[in-house]
Symmetry: C2
Subunit: 463 residues, 2 copies
């Protein structure tokens, strides 16, 4: 199915243009190239046959019907901020970009739902619901660019998850165009519902391999008070992980609980001149968005001190709180600059194993003589070891790739998962088989066949 001949291509574009406006089908090779991949490193991208930019459900249906008939692969795309290559082109494919379907169709404060098209940018939705006193929690780092459709495809998370969970928990119902062009409606507008198997949740995180989401009904929360943060400095990553365990075991539910290791802190300092303490081996940020966060922050500060924190700095006000969080927000960009390129892993472990995970990553970094900075959504046990490397140095790039894989194996050995929130894409396919085991993999393949018998939807991704 992968390759596509010149004739096939023209047959494809002719068929597509039959029911799509001229500006919805792009075939200029230079333009196609700019759509060919997402933000993942080490993920090869093929040469697409066309980019289709539909504005309506019917246009998506026509595109899929056409591709299915001609057995042409279709790769659905949002803003291509993904980190696993799930949106990368395969040779001869149609890149189906949903970015023009970007309307917010409804915001309902009584039912606490929003109905949106897939191309709505996360930040646009977040701000729109805020105006109604509502809150759409999922906040991936790329929230100013990434689309809700992309978030659903990868089941993405963010800083909020320790309290508010991931995208999956906010998707109530979906309209999905199937591989053969038929329209499937899943789920509901109601707060609860158990009618039949949960196809909604099956689609979430399926990276466009089961169908193309064209409309989503999302659950919203009431907008909480602004969060207030504290920072705690630790003489070792172990001590910081111990603090995380104490905080969670004591029954706290912070709105944010983030850990940065010394490599990350140095990189952030280098880039921002924030003057973070250079001798600190780990920094923990905790925040609460309750009406009266001060007593909770005090209690968390005391737990940090009990775990060996060398300093605890509670924010005096929201402005100071924001300043503390900026260090965390700058982390990935800063690590990217260390050696020019970086590769961000996404291994989630039970939070009781966080210290073992960080020890193991440090060992892997030393063994391969690599710089690996680790940011952690500590409340979730979701680590983002970020391997810094010089892309021009082939040998170093190879070591980076190997260490990336060893980090996944380490996570699995600690009872974790190879991906907490970034998805499988091309990058983690091999390790997925290991995590799922043969029985799970066989069932997943069976489900794929039910939804997409000709295998046209994002082939070579996930499974």
């Amino acid at each position: 199915m992968g390759a596509c001949h010149a004739d096939g291509m023209s047959e494809l574009t002719t068929a597509l243009r039959g029911q799509l406006p001229d500006d919805a089908v792009l075939t200029d090779p230079d333009i196609l190239g700019t759509y060919a991949h997402d933000m993942a490193s080490f993920c090869p991208a093929g040469t697409p046959a066309a980019v289709v930019l539909p504005r309506t459900v019917e246009e998506v249906q026509h595109t899929l019907r056409t591709a299915d008939e001609l057995r042409v692969p279709v790769v659905p795309q949002g803003a291509r901020t993904g980190l696993s290559g799930a949106a990368n082109a395969t040779d001869g494919c149609v890149l189906l970009s949903l970015v023009r379907m970007n309307r917010i169709l409804e915001i309902n404060p009584v039912d606490r739902i929003a109905v949106v098209e897939p191309g709505v940018v996360n930040a646009t939705l977040s701000r729109a619901v805020n105006e109604h006193g509502l809150f759409y929690p999922p906040d991936p780092s790329s929230w100013e660019e990434c689309t809700i459709g992309g978030n659903i495809g990868t089941a993405s998370g963010g800083l909020c998850c320790v309290k508010y969970g991931v995208t999956a928990e906010y998707v109530l119902g979906l309209d999905v165009v199937l591989a053969d062009g038929r329209l499937l409606s899943t789920g509901r507008r109601t707060a609860k519902g158990v009618a039949g198997y949960d196809l909604t949740r099956l689609i979430v995180g399926s990276e466009g391999s089961l169908g193309v989401v064209v409309r989503a009904t999302l659950a919203l929360k009431a907008e909480p008070p602004r969060q207030l943060a504290l920072a705690a400095e630790f003489p070792s990553a172990d001590a910081a992980c111990d603090a995380v365990c104490r905080i969670m075991a004591a029954g706290h539910t912070p709105s944010l609980l983030e850990l940065m290791d010394s490599t990350t802190l140095r990189a952030v300092n280098e880039m921002t001149r924030m003057g973070l303490p250079e001798t600190t081996e780990a920094l923990l940020l905790a925040a609460f968005d309750t009406p009266d966060p001060a007593p909770r922050l005090r209690a968390v500060g005391e737990l940090c001190e009990a775990a060996g924190a060398s300093a605890v700095v509670p924010a005096e006000d929201f402005a100071e709180s924001e300043l503390l969080l900026q260090a965390r927000r700058a982390a990935l960009t800063a690590l990217d600059r260390v050696k020019g390129a970086s590769m961000i892993d996404d291994v989630c472990v039970p939070r009781s194993r966080l210290a073992d995970m960080l020890d193991g990553v440090a060992r892997i970094a030393a063994e391969h003589s690599l710089t690996i900075g680790v940011c952690v959504h500590a409340g979730d046990g979701n680590t983002h070891p970020t391997v810094c490397f010089d892309a021009a140095d082939e040998e170093e790039a190879h070591r980076a790739r190997v260490s990336f894989d060893e980090i996944m194996a380490l996570g699995l050995s600690l009872g974790g998962t190879i991906t907490g929130e970034h998805g499988v894409g091309v990058l983690k396919r091999r390790r997925l088989a290991e995590e799922l085991g043969p029985v799970g993999l066989e069932l997943q393949r069976g489900i794929k066949s039910v939804f997409d018998p000709h295998g046209i939807l994002n082939p070579g991704k996930v499974l």
Copy 2:
């Protein structure tokens, strides 16, 4: 597949006993009869060939392998407190009761998880985790009897859902014995994870039709403060529904928000002599489990008054709060006594349509000259219209059945679902097709075939 000949039966029990202890296979017809059905009305139960009561995963595997080879249907059961007939016997089936697999294997306060066997009773788990300062929210009415396996099978809810969601949101990972006896492990022990399609969520709510859950990893929350309630009396159901909408639109997140109509109030009074106000047409109960609930209760009380409440009674202390909630807990038993039998529906609508739903149910009751009391998990829009009837009066029982069905149709017409938390079972199968539509139904059947190619698992349920 349904029926089973005398020879088949003895071949079956011989094969079962080959690898099961004597006391794990029951065939005495009198005993089998006591296992034949759950608590749903109007759901026929067949005659089982055997009851199997395994104590280990291997015993479940042997049972399923045997049944699959002999093409004998298997009906998994928990405490049989279900309300949709999902646990009812089909002719010649093996009733696979998981009640003896009732160990709590792990409670981990740092990872906030519990690992349990399916036969653990909900209340047993709830109390066990409380001792660690933890909280397992799902609280179906039958929580003192129902099992976690049954809760997972039906994706059950409870009073807590307005704030804490349903069972599905607390299931992180499952061990599942497939129809052919193979063991599938799904999901994770971690707070997050997006590795492959979400098979965990697919199993939850599948009523034993995709596999038999033999172990579950459950997410826990930190134990919240005790909840404090208020009661508000309204001159009409409409006014009470208006209050619900005002409360939710104002951004409150109560830990409980329950509505009872006048029929229910009268029945509760009759049974308990609680002295609830007889002239009240609807009673709303709201509670908060935040550290300082008083200001929130005051605000909610004011919203109730603005919506026309004739009286607002905040509890002075926790004991008084419990007393208010007892009225709600007594509701279903009380309605059951009105005419000797009752049939509880479970239609969930967007909460903005609650008033229309209650109006419609009152109209249906009048049209059929029936008593229908309505309890509502109002924060979820999840109504439980309970049709009271005299089971000895065939004509009245028929009208009860018809009205039950009309209530589902009404819910669908209001953008709702036929089941918020009780499941489909046998009772709602016909209406399920309507809710899912032909495309959804076809995909659900396809998934069923992937998991259970010979169709031995709980045939005739759900789909």
